[in-house]
């Protein structure tokens, strides 16, 4: 009987996926995507994760977890399963799964959707669950420590270096997304700026007025944030204030850089912690609201299944379907960053080892579901509108008329009047060239929410969505800069031990400054690049995030083989092979492609030739040397990152071979088992 139910689920799921893939027509209802996703997740969770838990990892409820054995009432605390689930989900779910699918929608709804589903149940969820398990068995050790203990120093250093680079690129690209959402938008800018004093106020409340009362402070803070969204509308319609907040992208980039530095050196309780509480509540609330609205509304998808841009000529980012759809989706399918979260706080909270399945596999499944919703929100827009929002002026033309002519000529009709009407409805002067994914997602979310809750509030929903994205992008920016600072302080302490004192102010200022300068550089170049910057930065971020996943999967595979589970090496080994193929071929294209839209070196050479021939307009000639240097630097970075992944893989293969030949390898670093006495 039970089996029969799963056969029915499989048939419905197969039917929905088949329907999605074969459907050809003007529109398709998003219920197909929702049903396909629900069935894939149900089967993945019920069958695959159960099998991994029982056979591969052999989760053992009688074995005491670190939280139980080392309970200190602080970081090691046995915690309710669903509370841990909430914390873990809040930690892994950032802006990535919202932005990646929005950008990948340029290929059509199908490729991205399929990869979000397949990549998560076979790759991302498995990675998160396995790393969480390995770390739990090692008292909550970090990924880098596990690599050092189990494989040797090479893997450990590679993991740390990879993390630092990805952090810098990640923050730069997220900063660019916020800048593009705020540029020449007095409403958006004033709302996002208002989040800073609100966070400070909440920080003071939780420290001085009612220490540690997170719940009441957050309710107050979220109410203030909502008031800031409405207040932004008042700023927008006020003649004098409007001008103050009408800023261009370079000014905004400097604001973000300055903000990042200040946030990194202020005490955490003042800005970072309260902002994080607010963003977590907003995130959980909005994701829930979006899920309910999408299910109630079941909007029609207007984007075709596949667009002509699978050939690599896409306006949002260049590159062919393989490998770039896999690079672009990033966090919604598999994210190397999760391996860092899964080997930190979460393992120290588990009461029961068996919870690893729902927390590791289940949280990632939910994140993948968020990515599916982002895909729906992006593809329900008319494709012409979607491309008008997301294409950079360097590609489609700087004026509204030029842009709509170019985009319509691709077969995605759109008119300047239509874009103007949409912008007015959203309370903006223009929506052209708002690249980075956040604005088009906000338009999609606003149209979903206003269809469910009433059309009159469109502009407020739009700016709510912008504020929602900006708040947790800025949280990631603060937190990432801080983590980068700690890693840098640790590295510098080998040169000068005093630098390692994490609270010594000169060290704090120097190392924070260096990290902010690192991402600030990429952000600045992204802003001055006439092709929009996203085209360079997002693939760079995607490659580095997937490489980190490769490193994590490699370490996991090595430990599986070492711990007598070599029969099941493929559970993490096959996703590793796939991720390696994807990232290596993407890196190859980015470095050696002769197409200047695709290859960093080709672009640098083309620009250098144009500069030498004097054919560039003066404004572009002024920034050309910086752009040329940046493209060469990007090529170098990609080579280094790919080399790191291959070094880790070779090191893992070396250790695995020794295991299979019976030669000595570093010992298993698992903590000894303590069996819980089960009371009858």
């Amino acid at each position: 009987m039970n089996k029969l139910v799963w056969v029915v689920v499989a048939i419905i799921g197969g039917f929905a996926v088949g329907g999605l893939a074969l459907h050809r027509g003007e529109t398709i209802n998003s219920v197909w995507i929702i049903v396909a996703a629900a069935c894939v997740y149900a089967i993945g969770y019920r069958l695959y994760s159960a099998w991994i838990a029982a056979r591969v990892l052999m989760l053992d409820s009688t074995r005491a977890t670190p939280a139980v054995r080392l309970n200190n009432g602080r970081d090691y605390v046995p915690t309710n399963r669903w509370v841990v689930f909430g914390h873990h989900f809040a930690a892994i779910a950032g802006p990535g799964p919202l932005i990646g699918p929005t950008l990948a929608a340029q290929f059509g709804y199908l490729p991205g959707t399929l990869w979000i589903l397949v990549g998560s149940v076979l790759g991302g969820c498995v990675q998160d669950m396995t790393i969480l398990f390995l770390s739990t068995r090692r008292n909550g050790r970090s990924l880098g420590q596990m690599a050092r203990d189990e494989l040797g120093p090479v893997g450990g250093y590679a993991a740390i270096l990879g993390t630092l680079v990805i952090m810098i690129i990640l923050i730069a690209v997220l900063g660019l997304v916020v800048v593009n959402a705020m540029k020449h938008s007095p409403w958006g800018t004033s709302t996002v700026f208002a989040t800073i004093p609100i966070a400070l106020l909440i920080g003071l409340y939780m420290r001085n007025i009612r220490p540690g009362r997170v719940l009441e402070a957050s309710v107050l803070g979220v109410a203030l944030l909502l008031a800031a969204v409405v207040g932004g509308g008042a700023v927008d319609s006020h003649e004098g204030l409007r001008v103050v907040f009408d800023l261009d992208s370079i000014t905004l980039a400097w604001f973000v850089i300055g903000y990042g530095f200040i946030a990194a050196v202020l005490p955490v309780w003042l800005l970072l912690a309260p902002r994080d509480y607010l963003s977590t509540f907003l995130k959980l609330g909005t994701v829930l609201l979006l899920a309910i609205s999408v299910i109630l509304l079941r909007p029609d998808i207007h984007m075709p299944a596949l667009t002509r841009f699978v050939d690599g000529t896409g306006p949002i980012f260049s590159g062919t379907l393989f490998p770039f759809v896999f690079i672009t989706i990033a966090c919604g399918a598999i994210s190397g960053f999760h391996a860092l979260v899964a080997s930190g706080t979460t393992p120290k909270l588990l009461i029961d080892e068996a919870d690893i399945r729902v927390i590791g596999y289940g949280s990632m499944m939910l994140e993948s579901g968020v990515a599916i919703m982002a895909m729906i929100a992006a593809t329900l827009l008319e494709p012409g509108v979607f491309f008008a929002i997301n294409s950079s002026p360097g590609l489609v033309g700087a004026t509204a008329d030029a842009a709509v002519t170019t985009i319509s000529s691709w077969g995605f009709p759109v008119t300047a009047d239509q874009m103007h009407a949409l912008a007015t409805e959203m309370g903006e002067t223009t929506l052209f060239a708002r690249t980075g994914g956040a604005p088009s997602l906000a338009v999609g979310m606003a149209s979903i929410f206003s269809s469910v809750f009433g059309q009159s509030m469109m502009a407020i929903w739009y700016h709510f969505a912008i504020m929602f994205e900006a708040v947790f992008i800025l949280t990631t920016l603060d937190a990432g800069t801080r983590v980068g600072r700690f890693m840098l302080q640790d590295a510098l302490s080998h040169l000068w031990p005093k630098m390692g004192q994490t609270s010594w102010y000169p060290s704090v200022l120097i190392s924070s400054g260096l990290i902010v300068a690192g991402w600030g550089y990429f952000l600045y170049i992204g802003v001055i690049d006439p092709n929009g910057g996203i085209n360079i930065l997002w693939p760079l971020f995607g490659i580095s995030n997937q490489l980190l996943a490769g490193i994590a999967l490699s370490i996991a595979t090595g430990i599986l083989v070492k711990s007598g589970r070599h029969r099941y090496w493929w559970v993490t080994g096959l996703p590793l092979v796939w991720i390696t193929a994807v990232t290596t071929s993407a890196a190859w294209v980015k470095v050696v492609s002769e197409d200047p839209r695709n290859g960093f070196l080709a672009a640098a050479n083309q620009l250098a030739a144009q500069l030498a021939a004097g054919t560039l307009p003066p404004a572009q000639a002024a920034v050309a040397p910086q752009l040329i240097f940046n493209q060469r630097l990007d090529a170098f970075l990609v080579v280094i990152l790919t080399a790191i992944l291959w070094i880790v893989i070779f090191d893992t293969v070396r250790v695995c071979k020794r295991v299979l030949r019976g030669l000595p390898v570093p010992p298993n670093s698992e903590a000894p088992a303590e069996i819980i006495v089960v009371k009858a």
């Binding site: 009432g73 602080r74 420290r207 966090c331 960053f337 990631t476 983590v483 700690f486």
Partner: protein, 59 residues
């Protein structure tokens, strides 16, 4: 019904880490009754410091 509401409230407090100090205090009194415990504010500040010294947020 009352019990169920109480369970939900307890869950929400736990999720928001509102009960962290109570948990700490209970644990502290059980294991080191002789040593002075941190005050609510000191505990909150040191927890924030500990929490944000590692990787807490992802992309």
């Amino acid at each position: 019904m009352r019990d169920r509401l109480r369970t939900v409230w307890k869950f929400i407090r736990e999720l928001a880490t509102d009960d962290a100090y109570d948990t700490y205090l209970a644990r502290h009194r059980a294991t080191h009754p002789e040593a002075p415990a941190l005050g609510r504010r000191e505990f909150y500040l040191s927890e924030q410091h500990r929490k944000w010294s590692g990787i807490q947020r992802c992309c």
